[in-house]
């Protein structure tokens, strides 16, 4: 099969073009170098099936960034029949350098000049025929966003491929890459003869918006307001959908599955319904939020605002080894950790991504909030409730900053902070929907098995041996609780609460439900019973532990997928568990010392 690779600088609409040709859902972003994995698709070109590969956006073939190394690695180890080089017409004066570097290596090339519409508006005129003759390769103006010029570009690609029987020789390219090329003069020559650029660009709209959004004092408040509104939107819309989904899954269980399993042995129906089905339901509960989050995030990303957020927040975040992009994801974590961790993909530097992923699980997500609201209602007077909740939020921020400060040297970011500010653009609905769908598919594919397995494991622990009451002290979970007594006693957590914490590994949403099963009581009766069994110091210690230790199985699964490292997943789990214990220990012991 013949192979075509798509190459260009970040922000040239490469992923958009790939999506348009392949119909697949590569991610698109108005952010330098958004494509993380190498996406490829099989397409029909001139009657033949051809493999199309989307290479990461790079500035320079000789650069040192991760993406540049990926591309270098690709072209020096994989033969290709054609490179489609995509350049942004509005920045052709500097982007031509990449084309010339590739041309020197002897690749068969079709040059596609994207964003023709923007270039026209900016008053840039490009003599494509002259450029094509001087360069000796087809030059075609296109608009990847709207599809203009695409048939022409594909026709050019087809004719090059049909003429070209041989592929490139990766080894000789590797050798040639070693030699440095001075291409500046050639580039200058080309621009002077074939391109006219007005002295000042008429990009008024972006300038005007920037004057407000990047304002010295208004910028940050506007950024916070915008983030607040977006997350409000996600959860205002998402919560009812989640509730609806939960209701539907519950209905399915009571109406269809329960009758189906009435005649099967108790252990089988327990395993199928309380184990596997609940696991599936846990996974399903995340789907609406992930879809909404990525609909909104791809809008923010594609619009170009995310680079502006980096500009606004950088001064503060740089002190913790993070940047403005991390901050957006940290804020998102307060809604739900899972999409926030998936969202760290917008960061190009791996070390900064890992540091952000280590920090996000410490944010007080909406599921933990449910536990806190229940505990606070059970053990604190309404007048004290807001203060307790507020101090938990403060604690959440504190642990996040502490973690970033402590680990910033382990995950030192070596890439220089130089980012392009793209002009504001409207993403097309098609891009947004494709992106949301792609992310959900990704989450379901990778996380579901892990989560279902975890739910089944906790079900086994809390239901066996089979001759004891479920979730009681005599189950394996209860025995684990007893086993950890020497560790849990100093932080005031009794056996019942310990079992609830084991349930909490699956999801914080089920902690309250677990307490109901453990105590065999519900609602007000459960609250009253707990108030007699534990005092407020124990309750707060339990809440602090719940706040800091691993949020849920879905978060763990996501951390593992996104970091592609099991070791990092274990680091995240053990760090959060250790920190949770230390914080609870300090709180519990000092409260007791003070006589409470």
């Amino acid at each position: 099969m013949k192979r075509i690779a798509l190459l260009g600088m970040p922000n040239t609409g490469k992923s958009t073009l790939f999506n348009r040709i392949s119909g697949a859902s590569a991610r698109v972003g108005n952010w330098p170098g958004i494509t993380v994995d190498l996406l490829s698709a099989k397409i029909l070109l001139g009657g033949n099936i051809v493999e199309l590969i989307d290479l990461p956006g790079i500035y320079d073939l000789h650069g040192f960034s991760e993406d540049e190394q990926v591309v270098r690695h690709f072209i020096t180890s994989n033969p290709v029949n054609l490179l489609v080089v995509l350049l942004n017409s509005t920045q052709i004066d500097r982007q031509l350098s990449l084309l010339l570097q590739i041309k020197k290596l002897g690749f068969p090339i079709v040059l596609a000049l994207n964003m023709t519409d923007e270039a026209k508006r900016a008053g840039i005129t490009i003599d494509t025929e002259g450029l094509s003759q001087t360069l000796g390769l087809p030059v075609i103006q296109i608009s990847a966003k709207y599809g203009d010029g695409l048939p022409k570009a594909l026709a050019a690609a087809t004719s090059v491929i049909n003429q070209q029987e041989t592929t490139t020789n990766p080894q000789s390219i590797g050798l040639m890459l070693k030699e440095e090329h001075d291409i500046e003069d050639e580039m200058h020559e080309l621009i002077q003869h074939h391109v006219q650029i007005p002295t000042t660009l008429t990009d008024d709209v972006t300038d005007k918006i920037d004057r407000v959004l990047l304002h010295k004092w208004l910028g940050l408040p506007l950024f916070f307001a915008a983030m607040f509104l977006l997350f409000q939107f996600i959860f205002a819309v998402g919560a009812p959908i989640q509730d609806g989904l939960a209701w539907l899954l519950d209905l399915l269980r009571t109406e269809l599955l329960n009758p189906l399993f009435t005649n099967t042995p108790a252990w089988l129906s327990g395993l199928m319904l309380d184990g596997i089905y609940n696991g599936v339901a846990t996974v399903a509960a995340f789907v609406p939020i992930i879809i909404l989050f990525f609909l909104v995030m791809s809008m923010v990303e594609d619009s170009g605002y995310l680079s502006r957020a980096a500009f606004l927040m950088d001064a503060i975040m740089a002190k913790m080894g993070l940047d403005g992009r991390s901050f957006v994801m940290m804020l998102m974590g307060f809604g739900c950790n899972v999409p926030a961790i998936m969202g760290t993909r917008i960061m190009r530097s791996r070390s900064m991504r890992l540091l952000t992923m280590l920090v996000i699980p410490l944010s007080l997500c909406s599921a933990r909030m449910q536990v806190f609201i229940f505990m606070i209602a059970a053990l604190f007077s309404p007048s004290k409730a807001p203060l307790i909740l507020f101090s938990l939020y403060v604690m959440s921020f504190f642990t996040m900053f502490l973690t970033a400060l402590l680990f910033q040297n382990q995950y030192k970011n070596t890439e220089p902070f130089i980012l392009e500010l793209p002009p504001y653009r409207f993403p097309t609905p098609r891009q947004i929907v494709l992106r949301g769908w792609h992310e959900v598919k990704h989450f379901l594919n990778r996380a579901s098995k892990f989560i279902v397995l975890g739910v089944v494991l906790v079900w086994l622990l809390t239901n066996f041996p089979s001759n004891v009451a479920p979730a009681s002290i005599d189950t394996y979970a209860g025995q684990i609780g007893v086993f950890f007594t020497p560790i849990l006693d100093p932080i005031g957590i009794n056996h019942e609460l310990a079992i609830a914490l084991i349930f909490g590994f699956v999801a914080k949403e089920i902690v309250v439900g677990a307490l109901a099963v453990i105590y065999g009581l519900q609602g007000d009766a459960l609250m009253a019973q707990m108030a007699t069994q534990i005092d407020w110091v124990q309750a707060l210690s339990f809440m602090l532990f719940t706040l800091i230790y691993t949020p849920c199985l879905s978060t763990i699964a996501t951390i593992k997928n996104e970091s592609k490292s099991t070791a990092f997943m274990w680091l995240s789990i053990s760090w959060s568990l250790g920190l949770a214990w230390i914080v609870s220990f300090i709180f519990y012991q000092s409260a007791r010392l003070l006589g409470y």
């Binding site: 320079d60 902070f417 980012l419 500010l421 002009p423």
Partner: protein
């Protein structure tokens, strides 16, 4: 004589000022990134704005808008116009 009198850096410019790049002193990786984004000796640029709390600098070079931290801007020598 204070060095800044005959040597000026991008990091010292105020919002609205214009300058021409006179030298780039950076290690290979930074140098590559800078040239790829259009920073070249002799190229004019203008400072669009600076972020609060000594944050990044927003620079416009020809058709490209770039933000960079002060530490990176310290490596670029300029002549103000």
């Amino acid at each position: 004589m204070h060095p800044s009198i005959y040597m000026q850096f991008l990091s010292q410019l105020k919002a609205g000022q214009r300058a021409v790049i006179s030298a780039i002193e950076a290690e290979d990786s930074l140098f590559h990134r800078l040239t790829a984004l259009g920073f070249r000796v002799g190229k004019p640029l203008s400072i669009m704005r600076r972020a609060s709390f000594n944050g990044p600098i927003h620079v416009r070079l020809g058709t490209t808008d770039v933000i960079l931290r002060v530490t990176e801007a310290d490596r670029i020598q300029i002549n103000a116009i």
